[in-house]
């Protein structure tokens, strides 16, 4: 019986025996846990590359055109402006498409979803395997772009035509841009495969008793994210194909000589890329909710409002894309509508923030590495969100659009938010993935260094932005009004070097703990969700017997028992899967 057809029931595992050969076990595996770990390792690798690119960018901004030892051999070590904008392009592209999205959706999504819903694997295990392996040619093609004539794409990760459509406008718009497009088409395909799997699994393969409103927020977030991926990615795919046609087939979708409109690309691109930022933040929000509740030993405050807020963020996320285009030449009337919708999307994020605070209030807070990172998510996301309000304000955006204000804002939500969320998830689920504990002391040192230097690098960007410093300038100090900012940029660069080096602590801790970490128990954090109901790591088919669920995911400090946690699957006298639903709001 093959796994695709037999798995619309939580118990069945398609009847196939566990794989035995090395290749089937670790390389071409259909096991969601292995696939999740594959996504994790490759994403961490690309995080190093993306981080190295960031160090190059910061070096240039501190000392423009100074020789960089070991790099840029064809120009005497000097980062030429065409190389700088290529660095900027690839840093954004790699971090978004090869780090944050694959880690949150690919790694955590794959690993956690079947475990947290009580299934033995995803609905479509083989499709799942393909979703990882199609990323491999995507990686290779994107890396190959660095080595072709003209170098890699250099039109920004936003790739606006005509710059990205006409090969002679910048060296990177030759073969490099074509490879960039091809790579992203492959990434999009991978995302869609994953989304189909996640939605099907969450809707159809939940354990008995795991009703919709007993799902942990990590699952809600991954579920809504998968819907976003499903609906938004095809638009990017289409836009990329149109761009490819304009580049090579003589069409004029985006080229004015021939009746095309460059602004059309922006609409199509941002129609995907704005939901994409929610694709990048929602899973981290879900993880944060679960980690905070677990280590505050307290139920999540406002579970239903939290769920509805995720839905609102996703829904509103489809009608705000024009806020990237206020000065693009788009009709000014749309400036009013998009400003309003964008202001409103701050609301569900604010509600979530208040509910996280509500979860901490009255809690019994344990400061593990995972918890520290989850708290940092909240603190940094507040800054990221609030600075977004300035950008949403259309008249103010006239000034701060395309300046470092925006760079600061996006890094507060993507690094301060998503990446700290990733760190929280890593420290939290490492024991479940690998059966060993990470070193807590190293975790705390990594956290402290990262948190401090992160703020030293990125908070000054709001000062730079308010001073009018544009993005993507290879040498901003050519302008008199920006020359005084070089000192601040140098300070930020030194901080960035320490920030990057601090990640070595995480890598070292991660690698060392893989082999030498303390053995992990099934439920080392005494948490409530179903993944902790099995061994660390789980067996091939996840559970000895599929658990039955009697309650929601956040029954900490329950008066029913002596312990301060009450797992979802733990049977109590009189409990049935359909017992009285847990209290909605006290």
């Amino acid at each position: 019986m093959d796994s695709e057809t037999a798995t619309i029931s939580a118990d069945g595992h398609g009847g196939h025996p566990a794989p035995t050969s090395f290749w089937r076990k670790y390389i071409f595996s259909v096991d969601h846990k292995v696939i999740g770990i594959q996504f994790l390792f490759t994403s961490l690798f690309f995080a190093l590359i993306g981080g190295a690119l960031a160090m190059l960018i910061r070096t240039q901004l501190a000392w423009p055109f100074r020789e960089v030892p070991g790099f840029f051999p064809t120009s005497g070590g000097v980062m030429l402006p065409e190389a700088y904008i290529a660095m900027v392009t690839m840093h954004g592209t790699i971090m978004i498409f090869f780090v944050i999205i694959p880690i949150l959706s690919g790694a955590f999504g794959n690993f956690l979803i079947p475990l947290m819903v009580g299934a033995r694997d995803m609905a479509f295990p083989r499709l799942n395997m393909y979703s990882y392996w199609i990323m491999v040619p995507a990686f290779l093609v994107m890396l190959a772009a660095f080595f072709v004539e003209g170098g890699t794409a250099a039109a920004g990760w936003t790739s606006y035509p005509p710059l990205s459509a006409l090969a002679d406008m910048v060296p990177g718009s030759g073969m490099g841009q074509t490879l960039w497009i091809v790579s992203l088409l492959l990434v999009g395909t991978s995302s869609l495969m994953g989304a189909i799997n996640y939605i099907t699994t969450i809707v159809l393969m939940r354990a008995k008793g795991l009703t919709t409103f007993r799902l942990p927020l990590t699952i809600w977030a991954l579920f809504i994210t998968a819907i976003l991926v499903l609906l938004a990615t095809p638009v990017l795919t289409s836009a990329l194909i149109l761009l490819l046609l304009d580049r090579g087939m003589g069409t004029h979708f985006f080229l004015p000589d021939g009746g095309g409109n460059p602004i059309l690309w922006q609409h199509l691109f941002w129609f995907y890329s704005h939901p994409a930022v929610y694709i990048m933040i929602l899973p981290a929000m879900g993880i944060t909710s679960d980690v905070i509740s677990t280590f505050a030993r307290k139920p999540l405050f406002g579970y239903r409002p939290m769920v509805y807020s995720i839905m609102a963020i996703a829904g509103l996320g489809f009608i705000v894309w024009g806020h990237h285009m206020f000065v693009s030449g788009m009709s000014p009337v749309l400036g009013v509508t998009f400003m309003t919708s964008t202001m409103m999307i701050a609301l569900p994020s604010a509600i979530k923030t208040f509910n996280w605070l509500g979860t901490l209030w009255g809690g019994n807070i344990h400061f593990t590495s995972a918890m520290l990172n989850a708290i940092a998510f909240v603190a940094m996301f507040i800054i990221g969100g609030l600075t977004g309000v300035f950008a949403a304000a259309t008249p103010v955006d006239i000034f701060i659009h395309d300046t470092h204000w925006i760079v600061g804002h996006i890094h507060y939500v993507l690094f301060g938010g998503s990446l700290f969320g990733v760190f929280a998830g890593l420290y939290y689920w490492f024991p479940k993935m690998f059966g060993r504990m990470m070193d807590e002391r190293l975790g705390k040192i990594h956290f402290a260094l990262t948190f401090i230097t992160f703020n030293l690098v990125f908070f000054p960007m709001f000062i730079l932005g308010a001073s009018g410093m544009p993005r993507r300038l290879a040498d901003p100090y050519q302008y008199e009004f920006l020359a005084p900012l070089q000192g601040l940029n140098q300070f930020m660069t030194y901080s960035a070097f320490v920030l990057f080096l601090s990640q070595l602590i995480l890598i070292g801790n991660f690698a060392w703990s893989l082999f030498r970490g303390r053995q992990a128990a099934a439920n080392p954090w005494q948490a409530n969700t179903l993944e902790w109901a099995t061994t660390s790591p789980p067996p091939h088919d996840n559970f000895e017997t599929i658990p039955v669920v009697y309650r929601g995911a956040y029954e900490y400090a329950s008066p029913l028992i002596a312990e301060d946690y009450l797992p979802q699957h733990r049977w109590l006298d009189g409990a049935t899967p359909t017992t009285v639903p847990q209290p909605a709001g006290d």
């Binding site: 390389i27 190093l48 055109f65 051999p73 064809t74 000097v78 030429l80 065409e82 890396l143 893989l514």
Partner: protein, 257 residues
């Protein structure tokens, strides 16, 4: 995949990435001197062709180049600067004319000179305005100004390239593998800048200066077609015969309005 294998793969990829950073760029890369047989020109029998490029009539008024936004350049000019598309010398000759042997040398092969040619960007202009170079000969492009110029030649017979030089004294080396008359060179940051490079596969070329004179020495005896090229007035050809040891004087004449 074990962590050890991952780490090794990471190291290899990072090394490759670090070593190759620089954007690649094969268009016009410097090549080695050709190892082909070089024609040996017997000095006992070699002749020369020389002469002047005359100009009659009225030349168009040179246009003022408005370098107001680049004061570092503008202050280096006492007057002007003016466009260089037609420069008539005081002695009634035409400057910036490229003269070369168009045909008659087909049986001979010439080695690539090791000495590079130099195109300098200084005070927001190219120096020289018209340059001759041999195929595969190294061209050193230098930026003598303290800010960005980019060199953007648009050859037809070779691969175009576009490379920036953001700082003063930066030098870039390129060469052209195929002959072409003439390759326009421009800067995208200063659109008034213009130069022309003539690429030939032999050393018999010259550019007229402020005396309007040209010289093609050390030419083996034979029958040749000589061409003069001017960016505004176009090309003119002439047949000359060079006897053994003969020195041929000739002249071209361009007419203005």
């Amino acid at each position: 995949m074990s962590s050890h294998q991952i780490s090794r793969w990471m190291c290899i990829m990072l090394f490759l990435f670090a070593a190759a950073c620089g954007g690649g760029g094969e268009g016009g890369a410097v090549e080695d001197d050709e190892a082909g047989a070089s024609a040996v020109v017997d000095p006992a029998t070699a002749g020369r062709v020389s002469g002047t490029i005359n100009f009659t009539g009225t030349a168009p008024e040179p246009q003022l180049i408005q370098m107001d936004a680049e004061p570092v350049c503008l202050e280096q000019y006492d007057e002007g600067p003016f466009t260089q598309d037609v420069v008539v010398n005081d002695n009634g000759t035409l400057a910036n004319v490229f003269i070369y042997v168009k045909s008659g040398l087909e049986e001979l092969e010439f080695s690539t000179p090791t000495e590079p040619a130099v195109l300098d960007q200084q005070a927001c202009r190219y120096h020289p305005h018209v340059l001759g170079i041999q195929t595969n000969q190294t061209l050193i492009i230098r930026n003598s100004d303290p800010f960005l110029h980019n060199i953007h030649p648009q050859p037809v017979n070779s691969r175009p390239f576009n490379i920036s030089q953001p700082t003063q004294d930066m030098e870039t080396e390129r060469s052209f593998p195929a002959a072409e008359i003439m390759i326009p060179v421009s800067c995208d940051v200063h659109s008034w800048m213009s130069a022309y490079v003539g690429v030939v596969d032999h050393p018999y070329f010259d550019v007229t200066g402020d005396d309007g004179a040209f010289e093609l020495p050390n030419l083996p005896p034979g029958e040749y077609e000589i061409e003069a090229w001017h960016e505004f007035y176009g090309a003119q050809t002439m047949n000359v015969t060079v006897g053994e040891g003969e020195s041929v004087e000739t002249e071209f004449t361009y007419e203005g309005e």
